[in-house]
């Protein structure tokens, strides 16, 4: 099952950011950033800590107005949309989404239907169908009535993903979605995201996961784009040395039909 069963959008649009500048006081967090995330593909957003990944994701999600620059979904400027329309177009799974309220999984996922509902409106049935579908997609149907506080880290991430999918967006943004997950859970989550077929941008910490699950990559360093494009051609040995200070390269995977990361060791930062 893919997003096509949920889809309300006619196609998978490109997500294009041009000339993004974001300042925080005197610091320049994002300096003239251009990003192209192609429709239907998974783009990894990489970069060391403090490179501005979360800020860029918030700008791409339309949650933060950049000091300069525009973000287009297809050919629609994201800031020109109303809050509701924007939430029906782009959805973000943020890094640390916690709560002390003991909602059930179903209630959490149902939050995703908010952009489709009016303020004093009654709940329509189409909402319930969508909720069931996305819970099935992420494999949480058996936990539908369990309380949030009883869930494991992996289950919670999947619930957040389901909630975002319930918004029926055209573009999916993920901010370090696999941070507190075991390896198996990480692999499962990213495979799920990839198989959805939505235009996806995922900020990732782990180069190996990016290589395994993403089509394209954007590398940020100190608020600037150091390089972007298809994974294998962008993550060259010299880029890895300059940005991550490691002696590494992408080599063909011994068993599968893709590449994987092979590293020799770290490099002194001044060399």
């Amino acid at each position: 099952m893919t997003h096509r069963d949920l889809c309300v959008h006619s196609s998978t649009p490109d997500l294009r950011a041009s000339g993004i500048v974001v300042r925080l006081g005197v610091d320049v967090v994002l300096d003239d950033v251009d990003v192209l995330a192609r429709g239907g593909r998974v783009t990894a957003l990489l970069g060391p800590n403090g490179s501005g990944k979360t800020t860029l994701l918030h700008v791409l999600a339309g949650l933060r107005k950049p000091d300069r620059g525009t973000v287009l979904v297809g050919d629609v400027a994201i800031r020109s949309l109303s809050h509701r329309r924007r939430a029906q177009t782009v959805a973000l799974v943020e890094q640390h989404a916690t709560t002390t309220t003991d909602l059930t999984v179903r209630q959490v996922v149902a939050l995703g239907r908010l952009p489709h509902r009016r303020m004093l409106g009654a709940r329509g049935d189409s909402g319930a169908e969508v909720v069931d579908t996305v819970m099935d997609l992420v494999g949480l149907t058996h936990l539908a009535d369990r309380g949030w506080t009883t869930l494991s880290g992996g289950e919670r991430q999947r619930a957040h993903l389901a909630r975002t999918l319930a918004q029926q967006p055209a573009v999916l943004l993920l901010d370090e979605p696999t941070n507190h997950l075991d390896l198996g859970q990480q692999l499962r989550f990213l495979a799920l995201a990839r198989d959805l077929g939505l235009t996806t941008v995922a900020a990732l910490h782990d180069l190996e996961l990016a290589t395994a699950f993403c089509d394209d990559v954007v590398v940020l360093n100190h608020g600037r784009v150091h390089g972007q494009g298809p994974v294998t051609s962008t993550l060259t040995a010299s880029l890895l040395r300059e940005v991550y200070h490691v002696d590494a390269s992408l080599d063909p995977h011994p068993r599968l039909d893709r590449h994987h990361l092979v590293w020799d060791g770290h490099v002194e930062e001044n060399s």
Partner: protein, 347 residues
């Protein structure tokens, strides 16, 4: 799905039960007071006033219809407002200990009240008690304005953190003013009168003031209910709420100003009654779940019941005397709060 229907059905049952409890409690509350009026006579007064004819004495009508009924209705209205505002602010600031007086409303109102009560300033032709209400309302709004200015400075919207801090700062400032005025200008039993006003009382309510309170309660109920789903969106914080399409900053402004205005209206007439807004939302969540549509309705009903009973106790516990209702709600509320915190599952 049947599960969702069941939960909704359960919420409806709880709300209906509390409504029935409200009506029954009101009937009993109307028969209690300094002068004995049996429940049968209470009903007779009500029926006659509602057009069904019948004979009642002037005294019975005065006591039941003109003194007690406005007071009971006022308790229902004020209790609903306080509980609603508490629930809204707790979700908005993601702080379990938030209450309707977070934004300086109670301290500002006290400044206004004390200024009239102790400094004896006249307000064009109004009786002292009416002047106190007007001044309390004005003081509350002034304090709110100061809190909002401080909290929104720096331009990152009304962050909960800044708002709470601003509220605390304004509260301290106001209490300094109150103390200085009472100590330096207070005559006779000024301190006792100020304390008495601060602890709240529904004793002065007549139909004119109660109708205002009922109006405020109705406005609060409809307005906040409309925002209920947006409040649900705040469950996982500001970023998630925004991503779900909720305009976070404008929602915060609207709800904070809204809660402050209806709370200020309530405080102006009945003083500062604590704990209702803090405790009731926590009490109803285990019963009706966490969706705000249910929580808000149940909180309103629960707050009404609690305050009605507290007020009835306030005027019947000690013979010939009124215990300040704010002291009673605190007495009830404190152990309930401790019990709630103790049984919280470790998240």
């Amino acid at each position: 799905m049947s599960v969702a229907r069941l939960a909704a059905g359960r919420a409806v049952v709880v709300v209906t039960l509390t409504a029935a409890a409200l009506v029954a409690s009101a009937a009993v509350a109307l028969s209690l007071g300094s002068v004995d009026v049996p429940v049968a006579r209470v009903l007779a007064v009500l029926l006659r006033r509602l057009g069904a004819g019948g004979e009642v004495t002037v005294l019975e009508d005065q006591l039941v219809w003109q003194l007690r009924l406005p007071r009971v209705m006022g308790a229902i209205a004020a209790g609903a407002v306080l509980a609603l505002c508490g629930a809204v602010l707790q979700s908005l600031t993601r702080n379990d200990l938030a209450d309707p007086f977070l934004l300086g409303v109670s301290s500002g109102a006290t400044v206004g009240a004390v200024t009239i009560m102790v400094l004896g300033i006249e307000v064009g032709g109004l009786v002292a008690s009416a002047a106190v209400s007007v001044a309390a309302f004005a003081g509350a709004l002034a304090a709110l304005a100061v809190v909002l200015v401080i909290a929104s400075a720096g331009g990152r919207g009304l962050s909960p953190h800044r708002t709470v801090l601003a509220g605390v700062a304004v509260a301290y400032l106001c209490s300094a003013y109150t103390s200085v005025v009472v100590i330096m200008h207070g005559e006779g039993d000024a301190a006792r009168r100020v304390l008495s006003w601060t602890l709240g009382s529904l004793a002065g309510l007549r139909w004119d003031s109660t109708l205002v309170l009922l109006g405020a309660a109705l406005v609060a109920l409809v307005w906040f209910f409309a925002y209920a789903e947006r409040l649900d969106a705040f469950t996982f914080g500001e970023v998630s709420a925004q991503s779900l399409g909720v305009p976070v900053t404008s929602t915060r402004w609207v709800l904070m100003v809204g809660t402050a205005v209806v709370t200020a209206t309530t405080v102006a007439y009945v003083g500062v009654i604590g704990f209702v807004g803090l405790v009731v939302p926590h009490l109803v969540r285990p019963l009706v779940g966490n969706r705000h549509r249910a929580v808000l309705l149940a909180s309103a009903a629960g707050g009404s019941l609690l305050l009605m009973w507290a007020d009835t106790a306030a005027r019947s516990l000690v013979d010939r005397q009124e215990v300040p209702v704010g002291a009673l709600t605190a007495l009830l509320g404190a152990p309930v709060l401790v019990w709630l915190m103790a049984r919280r599952p470790r998240a």
